[in-house]
Subunit: 179 residues, 2 copies
């Protein structure tokens, strides 16, 4: 199988890092926050007056490289590879690509090894990438083509309203995918 895996969400914990930075910089705003990301669009999870600051954080040097790995993700990817599947990292970069794109590569190198950087396929439109399965936390993944892959949702607090797709996490992936 060709398994495409989205980077931020399933592998790299952007949410955790963003909460960490915001708590540090905006303690008063964040003290009133549940701490749960309920919306896929990052800025929609915080007071509107923080939106510009959040966008600035996302564009800043070092942000994308600083995400902690999601628990179990690195082991799952290595296990998929050992099982003989072709794993590609299919990630949509920010339009402000300057730091985002090389740091996505550096992150993969750090946690999955330098050979894995040759398995990164950045694409704003993931429907142009081929695969059997796309593991992605985004509720709906759309583009110009009818996708070749099945979108399997990476389970998250902000996509629970989607009920018509298979859903997995790094404890359940083998059972869900029948591997």
């Amino acid at each position: 199988m060709i398994i495409l895996i989205d980077q931020d969400g399933p592998l790299a914990d952007e949410t955790a890092r963003l909460f960490e930075i915001l708590r540090e910089r905006y303690p008063a705003d964040l003290s009133r926050h549940s701490g749960v990301r309920t919306q896929f669009t990052l800025t929609d999870n915080f007071p509107a007056h923080l939106s510009e600051a959040i966008e600035e954080i996302r564009r800043s040097k070092g942000f994308y490289y600083s995400f902690p790995p999601v628990a179990g993700s690195v082991e799952a990817v290595n296990e998929m590879t050992r099982l003989g599947h072709r794993v590609y990292i299919c990630t949509a970069p920010l339009s402000h690509y300057e730091h985002c794109i090389p740091e996505k590569y550096a992150w993969i190198e750090r946690y999955l090894g330098s050979d894995f950087t040759m398995r990164i396929v950045p694409a704003k439109d993931k429907t142009v990438v081929r695969g059997n399965i796309l593991i992605d936390d985004r509720p709906e993944v759309e583009g110009i083509l009818e996708p070749e892959w099945e979108h399997v949702l990476f389970d998250a607090s902000y996509n629970r309203h989607i009920t018509h797709k298979r859903r997995l996490n790094w404890n359940s992936w083998k059972e869900v995918l029948g591997l």
Copy 2:
């Protein structure tokens, strides 16, 4: 149609820039050179003692951004888009991605505009990218899948031995593709 276009070769003239740098740094070696790239692998076009220097140049900051555009390429891409085709830049980055990958994006932004950076799909294995046509100067483009696209050769001095593929340049592309 979805038209995938390789970046270095069809759009960005890596060969011209490399010759320019080598002539400057190694005038004695280059004075004996025909000035023609006859081999696809860059280092194979120069004396063996320059190989390491060439690899170092390719990894260096500023190299990928400095390529001049191939004559007619920018106009051709804009015309394809105007005709209603979906153009994606499908480019295989260096394993030493640090400067290469962001500079490939910056190059596209500079010559094709910032919206076009969302149409870059970097992939070491281009068979995982979908399209009707791949315009690429590499003699053979292979990967783990049977490609969905037809490889149309971008005509170059180092791929003339390939005779079983359609071949185009930026003067002939409309006729060759029947557009």
